[in-house]
């Protein structure tokens, strides 16, 4: 069911689609190739589609699909085995640097406003252009989202931090240096916990903790737009947009976990409103450093951030999606292993990655490495952060996604993890609020001890995500809380739970409300004559016998082989032949059992 609502076109859903792409490898989904072909951008799907077109033999579709799926499975198995063999021999080590644009209206060192959509070069102060005689003016407000991020990532906030200049010449860098925090960053020693549901690699078990070395505040650069062959236009609006750079320790050992880590950090940053946009809109960029070493050999001679025994690392710059993070690491790992296995030496260099490619490419080699000549900025005083400010921010920080997951899968809501995650991530948390509203209203309608209705959380989750999601997909509209008011959905679920309507009726009513029926649910049910009038036992028996008489062989099979599962077919028959909305599946099942099994 998951893929249905994943196909929603909204931005958040899109990012979620990426974030869930690993799920597409699970067997359950692979058995529904038709649905998958609609999610066209994913490689395994594209592969399936192409193969079907190429096939010239006349083979029944069903058989063909089976064959394809089998060969895909075997290829995947082969690849997994190759991967596993290489993994046993080689240890991969990855560290990540994430640059995130902070959610704040002012630039870091000038009074100009931040802007992403305004006319080029309209929000630019003298200092942003590095005019002679201009000086930086630190904007205190930019600290708020930065501190929220650092708190959410469990960092020690430093009472004193400082700004440094990082020098390099480039036309998008008007001063010839970027102001950052190199020697004394404002946050250190954080961590992010990744769970199996975050999509970490199987080898990492249920949970892995990635330490965060530091977070630093820094300026963004200008935006260059290339007009080949020789023109570059520069928009200085982006200069000095506040960024944080989050640096993890080199503690990640699989590509999947690296992608999960970036995804999780983005989710955490979004949950505390530290950033406005995610990777899909360029609000977040990641650099990864990758090294490999042979497990059974002596430890490597390199050390990074105090982690010793590693191999020579390379850095891959400017990755702009979770998939790019994973793919680029796989490609770089394989490239390094290839070099080492053929007796070569990995060079410490900076490499790039183009989406859709299979190899990283060299940007500049070690000799061309930039010496950034870090120097404390002599104009900017130290940043002193008081405990009172931290306490106030900690008190007002929204609940973390991990805590929300814990709550939703806990005894109060009992949601499956696959439902809890999207509820939290969809619509920037609005979907979760909506879910909570529906649960609360149903509870108040039922006026009972919530402990008695232990399935309510799960049921509402199903309706909010899957039933409503499927309808939205069909109608091709984006979810908004007003489309189906929480009150209406709660009443529908309540009626269903009270057995006053059947499941199919509930879906019909939901669709009517979605399509603009403004009548209160109760009134709608009455006027449309949709309330369940229970069938009598005799009516059930009549329906059941009519169904049985149409297919006596199957009855025989059920009886002889005790194939109770096949009763469902008869239930379906009864629902179809009976008066619409009156046949309750459970009762039909009971009657059928009685008639078939006890005769």
């Amino acid at each position: 069911m998951l893929q249905l609502w994943l196909r929603q076109p909204s931005g958040v859903a899109r990012s979620l689609l990426r974030s869930q792409s690993r799920l597409l490898y699970t067997p359950k989904l692979r058995t529904h190739p038709h649905n998958l072909t609609r999610v066209a951008s994913l490689p395994p799907v594209r592969y399936l589609h192409n193969s079907i077109q190429k096939s010239q033999e006349h083979i029944p579709l069903r058989q063909q699909l089976k064959r394809e799926s089998k060969s895909l499975k075997s290829r995947k198995k082969q690849r997994r085995e190759d991967e596993e063999a290489s993994r046993r021999k080689w240890e991969l080590t990855v560290g990540i640097e994430i640059h995130a644009q902070l959610n704040i209206e002012s630039k870091l060192f000038s009074r100009a406003a931040t802007s992403t959509s305004e006319l080029p070069n309209t929000n630019v102060a003298l200092f942003d252009l590095a005019f002679p005689g201009s000086q930086p003016e630190f904007q205190v407000a930019t600290l708020l989202p930065a501190l929220r991020a650092a708190i959410a990532l469990n960092c020690d906030i430093q009472p004193v931090s400082r700004f440094d200049r990082k020098h390099y010449f480039y036309q998008d860098q008007p001063a010839g240096y970027q102001i950052t925090q190199y020697y004394e960053p404002f946050a250190r020693n954080g961590h992010v916990d990744l769970f199996d549901y975050d999509g970490i690699a199987a080898e990492d078990g249920d949970k892995v903790r990635i330490d965060i070395k530091q977070i630093q505040l820094e300026q963004d650069t200008a935006k260059s737009t290339e007009y080949p062959p020789s023109t570059q236009l520069i928009d200085f609006n982006r200069v000095s947009h506040p960024l944080i750079e989050i640096i993890t320790m080199p503690q990640i050992h699989t590509p999947a976990t690296a992608a999960a880590c970036v995804r999780k950090i983005q989710a955490i940053l979004q949950s505390c409103s530290a950033v406005t946009t995610g990777m899909e809109l360029g609000g977040l960029r990641a650099d990864v450093n990758v090294s490999v070493r042979q497990r059974d050999e002596a430890p490597g001679s390199h050390q990074y951030d105090g982690v010793r025994g590693l191999g020579q690392r390379t850095e891959i710059k400017n990755l702009s999606s979770f998939k790019a993070v994973e793919d680029a690491i796989i490609a770089e790992k394989n490239r390094q292993i290839g070099i080492l296995e053929s007796g070569g030496v990995v060079e410490g260099e900076t490499r790039g990655w183009t989406i859709g490619s299979t190899e990283t490419r060299k940007l500049r080699d070690k000799e061309g490495a930039v010496d950034y000549r870090y120097m404390p900025d002599p104009d900017i005083p130290p940043l002193i952060i008081g405990k009172d400010l931290l306490a106030a921010l900690e008190d007002t920080l929204p609940t973390s996604p991990d805590k929300l997951v814990e709550l939703l899968v806990g005894p109060e809501y009992r949601l499956p993890i696959e439902d809890a995650k999207p509820l939290i991530e969809l619509n920037d948390g609005a979907r979760l609020e909506y879910y909570q509203d529906v649960v609360d209203i149903v509870r108040s309608l039922q006026g009972r001890d919530p402990k008695l209705n232990t399935d309510l959380g799960r049921t509402v989750g199903n309706w909010v995500l899957h039933e409503l999601g499927a309808l939205l997909t069909k109608e091709e509209i984006d979810w908004e809380p007003e489309l189906v008011p929480a009150q209406s959905l709660a009443e529908i679920i309540d009626q269903l739970q009270q057995k006053r309507i059947t499941g199919p009726t509930a879906k019909v009513v939901l669709s009517m409300v979605l399509n603009g029926d403004k009548r209160p649910v109760q009134q709608l049910l009455e006027e449309e004559n949709l309330l369940l009038r229970p069938l009598s036992r005799e009516e059930y028996i009549a329906l059941a016998e009519s169904a049985i008489s149409q297919n006596p062989q199957m009855v025989e099979q059920i009886r002889s082989k005790n194939q109770l599962g096949k009763l469902g077919w008869f239930v379906g028959q009864m629902m179809r032949t009976g008066e619409k909305g009156r046949v309750e599946a459970q009762k039909a099942n009971e009657i059928l059992q009685e008639l078939i099994m006890q005769k």
Partner: protein, 508 residues
């Protein structure tokens, strides 16, 4: 003399002395200027002048931004640059009724000790050598000093990074004052070395310098290194405390004489002027007391690491992309054309600026930063500690921890230090500008040996002209020199007061 007469005299001197090359941009068209001065005269007659500088012509060093005059920093790369805004100090002067008397010549971006490294040619001292040869005006605010000395303006704003106001004052016989770091705004002052750059004032006498300083001595929120109002009141209540306030009244001062400054290279006439100045102070009832500033020997080297390091960073912005002069593409030179502004930077900076950018780039590079930049910062701290140890007054802005450790070490008891501004007499200009001359850049750096320590420590320092008699041997009759008074941080008034005691003294 009326303000109008004085202004007219300044304007005619600007024409008369144009060959001294003190101005890059002199005043154009006297009529509007003189109208302003007439208004100021009226205000003065009514007893309601805007300030003591109302109606005065004050020149601005050409590395301080002005909207109405170009701001070239004496550099090829900014030769046509016009700033879209006024520096805070320019605004303050104009609000006080002063009139900008033009933009004065300097060493490119303030880097130099003789005002010869200018795209617009060297500044000439009004004073001449015995045989009429041109002498160095000192630098880098040489244009400002010569403009004051030759009466082309009433007073001048310069900048002092390692002595750039005091040294030319000493060479030209004017008063040059560098206030405590952070008192005067740097917004609009083109950065050479931010942690050292200080706007200074040059004038014929201490009185005019004090008047101009009073206008500039205010907090500016646009300069992040400007001392905040609360710190200013801390400084004030500190210097007004009973123990320190008496220094400004009649009681005798304890004048420190750093023994390390009596170097063998000191020219005999300068040593004589120093000696006679101390004798004069003693005759006035003040106490002369030898002190030791051991880190001084390292100060010059530390300065020539730190200032170029910051300069290499600050000057990275000049690329010809957003403003400034852009070099034409060099045909056939592919290596250079590959980089957008390699040509512009290669052509736009003079040799001394280029030298300091390279020095700074080296001392900040990963392999050198610990041994050079970081080490020099340590020396800088030692120099500060040296001063703190000998002054009676504490550094009013230092932390409580620093103060208590100082108390354990025992307090100094000196009120001010008095020593020469520069060890030499002004050299001949020809020896500096001729390509075949034997002087190396290091010789020029030596001029800063007595001015750099106060810059590293951010202390107030003034150079006042003093004339010593000839020794009668006939070999050395250049006896006008500068004597420097240095005080504890925040003791700007005390430094000005002692300057007044010595200024213009002729010990015949």
């Amino acid at each position: 003399m009326s303000l109008l007469r004085e202004a007219e005299r300044c304007l005619s001197n600007q024409k008369l002395y144009s060959t001294l090359n003190a101005f890059i941009t002199p005043l154009q068209g006297s009529a509007p200027t003189l109208d302003c001065v007439r208004d100021a005269d009226l205000r003065r007659d009514k007893g309601k002048p805007k300030s003591n500088a109302d109606g005065r012509l004050i020149s601005i060093k050409d590395n301080i931004c002005t909207r109405d005059f170009s701001t070239t920093c004496a550099s090829e790369i900014l030769k046509e640059f016009s700033s879209p805004f006024n520096a805070t100090v320019v605004e303050q002067l104009e609000n006080a009724g002063a009139i900008v008397a033009g933009k004065t010549n300097l060493d490119e971006f303030g880097m130099g000790s003789h005002s010869v490294h200018s795209r617009f040619g060297p500044v000439r001292n009004l004073r001449r050598g015995r045989n009429g040869e041109s002498l160095s005006a000192g630098g880098s605010s040489g244009g400002a000093a010569v403009a004051v000395a030759s009466g082309q303006c009433y007073a001048a704003l310069g900048t002092d990074t390692g002595g750039s106001v005091r040294l030319p004052a000493a060479y030209t016989g004017t008063v040059g004052f560098k206030p405590s770091y952070g008192l005067v705004s740097r917004w609009g002052v083109v950065a050479y070395s931010n942690s050292l750059d200080t706007v200074g004032v040059l004038g014929k006498d201490t009185c005019s310098v004090r008047d101009v300083f009073a206008i500039l001595n205010q907090h500016d929120p646009r300069d992040p290194t400007s001392i905040s109002p609360s710190s200013r009141s801390r400084i004030l209540s500190h210097v007004n405390s009973p123990r320190l306030a008496s220094r400004m009244t009649s009681s005798p001062l304890k004048v420190g004489v750093p023994v390390e400054y009596n170097i063998s290279e000191l020219s005999p006439s300068v040593r004589r002027a120093w000696h006679l100045s101390l004798a004069h102070l003693q005759s006035q009832g003040h106490i002369i007391h030898p002190v030791s500033l051991p880190a001084t020997k390292l100060a010059l080297s530390a300065y020539y690491i730190l200032a170029p390091a910051e300069a290499s960073s600050n000057l990275a912005k000049y690329d010809g992309v957003r403003y400034g002069t852009r070099a034409e593409c060099l045909n056939g030179d592919d290596e250079v054309e590959k980089y957008l502004y390699a040509g512009t930077r290669g052509k736009g900076f003079g040799p001394e600026v280029e030298r300091r950018i390279l020095l700074g780039t080296f001392s900040l590079s990963a392999a050198a930063v610990d041994n050079y930049f970081i080490q020099a910062q340590r020396v800088r701290r030692l120099v500060q500690c040296d001063f703190d140890a000998i002054f009676k007054a504490e550094q009013p802005l230092s932390s409580h921890a620093a103060l208590s450790s100082r108390r354990e070490m025992g307090q100094g008891d000196v009120d001010v230090l008095v020593f020469p501004t520069v060890p030499f007499s002004p050299p001949q200009l020809s020896s500096l500008v001729n390509a075949d001359s034997k002087t190396s850049p290091l010789d020029a750096y030596m001029n800063d040996v007595f001015t750099v320590p106060a810059s590293l420590a951010g202390l107030p320092a003034i150079s006042v002209p003093v004339t010593a008699p000839s020794d009668g041997q006939g070999s050395d009759d250049e006896c006008l020199t500068g004597i420097q008074i240095v005080g504890q941080y925040g003791d700007d008034e005390l430094v000005l007061k002692v300057g007044e005691l010595l200024e213009g003294k002729k010990f015949i």
